[in-house]
Symmetry: C2
DNA sequence: TGAGCCCGCAACTCCATAGTTGCAGGCGCG
DNA sequence: CGCGCCTGCAACTATGGAGTTGCGGGCTCA
C-alpha cells in the first residue's frame, strides 16, 4: 500500500522472513499451512511474517475457499536496489572528485 | 570480515543507521563527532551504529590522530543486490513455467 | 451431521537493540 | 602545564519483535 522503504528494509531484516519470501517466490501462491512444513517454526509465526511482508507490499494474500494464497509482489524490492545504487553512485562521485583533486595536484606540480 | 548476508540485511534495517551509512558514503571518511551534527541522536548512538555497520563489513574505521575516520566499504551491498536478483529470477522462472502451461493448454485445445 | 482441516484472535514469554546519561582517558595546541 | 576536544567503556531504560500456546470459528466432504 504505502511505499515506505522503511517497511521493506525492515521486512528483509529477519532471516526466517526472507526464507518465507523466497519460498513464496519459488512455490508461487501458497498458504501458510503449506509453508509450515518447510520451515522450523509454527504456522502462527509464519502468518505474522506474511502480515509483515504484506504491510511492506512484498506479498498479497487472496482467499481461495478455506485457504489463503499468498503471492509475491516483487516491485517494492526495486526501492532497495535503487537505494543501494544511489549509495554506490555517491561513492563513485566521491571517487571521481578525489581523482579530480589528484589530477589537479599533478597539473600544479608539473 | 565475515560475509554473512544476515548481518548486512540486519544492518540496513534501521533508518538512522541507513542515514549514517549514506552520510559516510557522501562525506567520505568522517568521524562520529562530525556526524553527530547532522543527526538527531547522540554521538554514542552513532558510534553504536558504526560498530554494527563495521561488523557487517559495510564500513571501516581508521585512527587518524585523535579522531577515528570511518569510510564506506560498498562490496557487501552486492550480496543484497544478488539476493534480490535471485528472488526476481525465481519469480521470472515461475512466470515462464506458467506461460508454458498456458501454451501447452492452448496446443491441447487446438 | 460430524470429523478434519485451515484460518483468525489473544495472551504471554523472552531476547535483542536503539537510545540515553555519566564518567574516565588520550591527543593537541597555546 | 592546562584547557578543549574526541574517543571509549559501562550501566541503565524501554520498546519492539520473534515465537509459542491455546482456543474458537468456518469451510468441506463423506
Amino acid at each position: 500500500m504505502r511505499e515506505a522503504p522503511d517497511a521493506v528494509f525492515a521486512a528483509l531484516a529477519d532471516p526466517t522472513r526472507r526464507r518465507v519470501l523466497r519460498l513464496v517466490a519459488e512455490r508461487g501462491p501458497t498458504s501458510a499451512t503449506l509453508l509450515e512444513r518447510e520451515l522450523p517454526v509454527t504456522r502462527q509465526a509464519i502468518v505474522k511474517h506474511l502480515v509483515v511482508l504484506s504491510r511492506a507490499g512484498l506479498v498479497t494474500g487472496q482467499r481461495a475457499g478455506q485457504e489463503v494464497r499468498y503471492a509475491l509482489v516483487p516491485e517494492p524490492l526495486d526501492e532497495v536496489s535503487e537505494w543501494i545504487a544511489e549509495i554506490g553512485s555517491r561513492w563513485d562521485e566521491r571517487l571521481a572528485r578525489l581523482r579530480q583533486v589528484v589530477l589537479d595536484q599533478e597539473t600544479e606540480w608539473s
